[in-house]
C-alpha cells in the first residue's frame, strides 16, 4: 500500500527535478560562452590594480601620500582641462595596499557633448604628474569582465543579465539535485565520461555555493544598478535622477559661487583624517570642481568592517556636510557598500584575494564542466556535437591564448594592439580548432605557457618596471598559471585530453557508419 502511495510522489519529484534540469540546460547552454568569458576575466580582474602597476613603466610608488601631494596632483590634472572642454569631476586614487601609486583621473565633457577620461600617474613625493597611465592589459581584462567590451550602458546591462542568469543557474542546480548532501563527496572518475563530468560539475558547484551565490548576485546587481536607479528615479521621483541619487548617495551639488582654483583638498583631507581617527585614504572625488557648491567626497578605508569604507562629504568650498556609510550608518547604505567588496574580494587583504582567485577559476571550470556533460551526454546518446565541441575548445583555448598574447604585447610596449590582436587570435583559434579538431588540446596549453614565460621573462629583464610587492604578486600569478599549464601539458590529464579528441573522432565516425 505504501509503495503505491509513494509512486505519485516519486513521479512528481522526478518531474520537478526534470524541469529544473531543463531550466538549467536552457540557460546554461544559451549563455555558456558569455558566462565563461565573464568568469575567466573576472578571476583576473581581482588583480586589475596590481596588473595596471605591473605593466606600467616608470611608476613611482609609496605606501602613503601626504595631503599636500594629493592637492598638487589634482590641481595639475585640473590644469590639463582642454580648451572648450568642461571638467566634470576629478578623482585621486589613494596609494594603498593593492596599488601603492598615486593615480589621478580627469573626467571631461567635450565641446560636442562627448565624455572624455584621462588618467595620470603622479609622483607621491611632489604631486607632479609623471605621465599618462597606460595599462592596456588591465583595461582589456576589466572591460571584458564588466561590459564584454560593448558600448555603455548596454555592455554593463548584458553582464548584469549574465549575473542574474548565473544566479538562476545556481538555484536550478540546487533544486535539480535532491540528493545534494548525500552526494557531497561523490567523484566517480572511473565511470562514464558523462557521469564523471557530472560529479566534477556538482562538486565544484556545491562546495563553492556560498561564493557562487554571492558573486552572481553582486555581479547581477552591479551590472543592472544603473537601470534600477534610472527606473526608480523615473517612477518614484518623477524622473528626477538627482533626487534619487541624493537618497542613495547623500548630498548632491548646488549652484554656488565659481571657484578660480582647486577646492582646498589638503585641508579637507586633514579634517577627514582627524574625524576618522586616522583611517587611510582610499579615494578623493571632486564633482563640479569650478563650483563652490559642488561635492567633495573623501573615502577612507576601514578594514575592520565588511563595507570597508567610510566617506566624508564636503562642499567644494571646504564646508563639512556629513559622514556617509561605515559604522552607525543606515542598514541600506551599509548593504549597498558591501556589494563591491564582496564581489571583488577586497575585504580580506591578499589572503582573501588569493582565495577569490582560486574560487573564480573553479567557477570558470564549473562552466566548462557543464559543457562537457552536454558533449558527453550527446555522444553517449549517439548524437555527438563534434562541431560545437571543437568551437567550445577553440573559444576557451583562444581566449587564454588571446589574453596571453595581450600580456606579451603590453610588456614589449605594443599595448595599443592588445585588443585587436587578442581578438583576432581568439577568433582564429576558434576557426582553426574547428578545422583541425584532432590537434591535442595540450598544444594550446603549451602555447599559453610559452607566451606567459616570454612575457614574464621580458618583464623581468627590462628596466623601468615597478618592483613593488604588488607587482611581484602579478609575477607570482603568472608563475602559477605557467605551472597550471605545465600540469595540463605534461600531467596525467594530457592523456585524457588526447582521448577526448579521439572520442570526438569516434563520435563522428559512428554517425557515418
Amino acid at each position: 500500500m505504501s509503495r503505491r502511495a509513494d509512486r505519485p510522489t516519486a513521479a512528481r519529484g522526478n518531474r520537478f527535478v526534470a524541469r529544473m534540469i531543463e531550466s538549467h540546460s536552457i540557460l546554461g547552454l544559451s549563455f555558456a560562452v558569455l558566462i565563461y568569458v565573464v568568469s575567466l576575466t573576472g578571476a583576473f580582474t581581482i588583480f586589475a590594480p596590481e596588473v595596471a602597476l605591473w605593466e606600467s613603466r616608470e611608476v613611482p610608488t609609496a605606501p602613503v601620500v601626504a595631503p599636500d601631494q594629493y592637492e598638487q596632483a589634482l590641481a595639475a590634472a585640473l590644469a590639463r582641462t582642454q580648451e572648450g572642454y568642461e571638467a566634470l569631476n576629478l578623482v585621486a586614487y589613494g596609494a594603498g595596499r593593492f596599488q601603492p601609486a598615486l593615480v589621478v583621473r580627469l573626467n571631461e565633457r567635450t565641446a560636442d557633448g562627448e565624455f572624455a577620461q584621462t588618467n595620470w600617474i603622479a609622483d607621491p613625493s611632489s604631486g607632479e604628474l609623471v605621465g599618462e597611465l597606460d595599462s592596456p592589459l588591465a583595461h582589456l581584462v576589466e572591460e571584458l569582465h564588466v561590459a564584454l567590451y560593448l558600448p555603455a550602458p548596454w555592455g554593463r546591462y548584458l553582464v548584469g543579465l549574465l549575473g542574474v542568469c548565473m544566479f538562476c543557474l545556481m538555484i536550478s542546480g540546487i533544486l535539480a539535485h535532491p540528493s545534494i548532501f548525500r552526494d557531497a563527496f561523490k567523484l566517480r572518475v572511473e565511470r562514464s565520461k558523462r557521469m564523471a563530468w557530472t560529479d566534477v560539475h556538482n562538486r565544484l558547484s556545491v562546495w563553492g555555493l556560498p561564493f557562487h551565490l554571492v558573486i552572481t548576485f553582486t555581479g547581477g546587481f552591479l551590472g543592472i544598478a544603473g537601470l534600477i536607479v534610472g527606473v526608480l528615479a523615473l517612477v518614484a521621483y518623477d524622473g528626477d535622477q538627482e533626487a534619487a541619487l541624493r537618497s542613495i548617495n547623500g548630498p548632491q551639488a548646488v549652484e554656488s559661487r565659481p571657484l578660480a582654483s582647486l577646492p582646498p583638498v589638503a585641508a579637507v583631507l586633514a579634517d577627514a583624517a582627524a574625524r576618522s581617527g586616522g583611517l587611510p585614504l582610499e579615494l578623493v572625488v571632486i564633482n563640479d570642481p569650478d563650483n563652490a557648491g559642488g561635492i567633495l567626497q573623501v573615502s577612507l578605508l576601514d578594514p575592520g568592517i565588511l563595507d570597508g569604507r567610510t566617506t566624508y562629504i564636503y562642499r567644494n568650498s571646504g564646508e563639512f556636510l556629513e559622514r556617509y556609510g561605515g559604522e552607525g550608518a543606515p542598514a541600506g547604505i551599509r548593504a549597498l557598500a558591501m556589494v563591491q567588496p564582496l564581489h571583488y574580494g577586497t575585504f580580506g587583504g591578499y589572503a582573501m584575494k588569493a582565495i577569490y582567485f582560486l574560487l573564480a577559476l573553479a567557477l570558470t571550470w564549473m562552466t566548462s564542466s557543464g559543457m562537457q556533460i552536454w558533449f558527453h551526454r550527446r555522444a553517449q546518446q549517439g548524437r555527438p556535437v563534434a562541431g560545437y565541441r571543437a568551437a567550445w575548445e577553440g573559444m576557451t583555448g583562444g581566449l587564454s591564448i588571446g589574453l596571453a598574447v595581450a600580456c606579451l604585447l603590453s610588456v614589449i610596449g605594443f599595448g595599443n594592439l592588445c585588443l585587436p590582436v587578442s581578438l583576432v587570435v581568439w577568433v582564429a583559434t576558434i576557426g582553426l580548432r574547428m578545422v583541425f579538431p584532432s590537434v591535442p588540446y595540450r598544444y594550446l596549453a603549451a602555447l599559453v605557457a610559452s607566451l606567459l614565460v616570454l612575457a614574464l621573462g621580458m618583464r623581468l629583464g627590462s628596466r623601468g618596471f615597478a618592483d613593488a610587492f604588488q607587482a611581484q604578486v602579478v609575477n607570482g600569478i603568472l608563475v602559477a598559471l605557467i605551472a597550471g599549464c605545465a600540469v595540463l601539458v605534461f600531467g596525467t590529464r594530457a592523456r585524457e585530453l588526447e582521448s577526448g579528441i579521439s572520442e570526438t573522432r569516434s563520435g563522428r565516425e559512428s554517425i557515418t557508419r
Partner: protein
C-alpha cells in the same frame, strides 16, 4: 596579518569538519560523524565571527569553507588518469530523469526569462522601494537589491514551466499588479 592564528585555526576546523562529514557518508555509524562535522563547521564560523564581527566573519567563514571542500578533491583529480572513460555502448542516460516535454520554443522562454521578467522584477522592486514602511534609504536599497533575485526566480519559472501560456502571462500579470499597487493611493 592580525588574527592569522585564529584564522588558520578556523580553517583547520573546517578541514576537520569536511573529513568528518566524509566519514559520515561512508561509515555505518553516520550520525556521530555528521554531528561532529556540523559542530566543527559552526565552531569555525563562531571563531571568525568572534575575530572579525558578524558580517566580516560570515564573509570569511563562508568563503574559506569552499576551499576546505575543494581541497578534498585535488588529489583524486590530479592522480586520476582521466575524468571518466569512454563508453562505447550507447545509453539513454537512464539515471537522469526524463526531460520534461517542451512546450513552446526556447526563444519565447528566453523572452519571458529576459525582458518580461525584468519588467516584473523592476515593478515589484519599485513597489517595495516606495511602499514599505521603512526609512527611505532602507526601502530603496531593499527594493533595488531584490530586483536581481526576483528576476532570477522569474527566469527559473520561465525556463522550467511546461506551459508556455503561463510562462508568458505570469510576468505580464506581475508587472500589471505591481503597476496597480504603485498607482493605488
Amino acid at each position: 596579518m592580525p588574527g592569522a592564528l585564529p584564522l588558520w585555526t578556523a580553517f583547520a576546523l573546517q578541514l576537520l569538519a569536511v573529513s568528518s562529514l566524509a566519514r559520515a557518508r561512508g561509515d555505518r555509524a553516520r550520525l556521530p560523524w555528521l554531528v561532529l562535522g556540523l559542530t566543527l563547521f559552526v565552531a569555525a564560523l563562531a571563531l571568525v565571527i568572534d575575530l572579525f564581527g558578524t558580517a566580516l566573519g560570515l564573509a570569511w567563514g563562508l568563503t574559506v569553507v569552499s576551499l576546505a571542500g575543494y581541497l578534498r578533491f585535488v588529489r583524486p583529480l590530479l592522480v586520476a588518469p582521466s575524468i571518466g572513460v569512454v563508453r562505447r555502448v550507447e545509453r539513454g542516460g537512464a539515471d537522469v530523469p526524463q526531460a520534461a516535454v517542451r512546450r513552446g520554443p526556447v526563444v519565447l522562454r528566453l523572452l519571458a526569462a529576459g525582458p518580461l521578467y525584468l519588467l516584473a522584477a523592476l515593478g515589484i522592486g519599485v513597489v517595495l522601494a516606495t511602499r514599505l514602511p521603512w526609512a527611505e534609504v532602507n526601502r530603496l536599497m531593499l527594493g533595488g537589491m531584490l530586483v536581481p533575485v526576483l528576476w532570477a526566480l522569474g527566469a527559473l519559472h520561465a525556463t522550467a514551466d511546461t506551459r508556455i501560456v503561463r510562462v508568458l502571462a505570469a510576468p505580464l500579470l506581475l508587472a500589471l499588479v505591481s503597476a496597480a499597487l504603485f498607482f493605488v493611493p
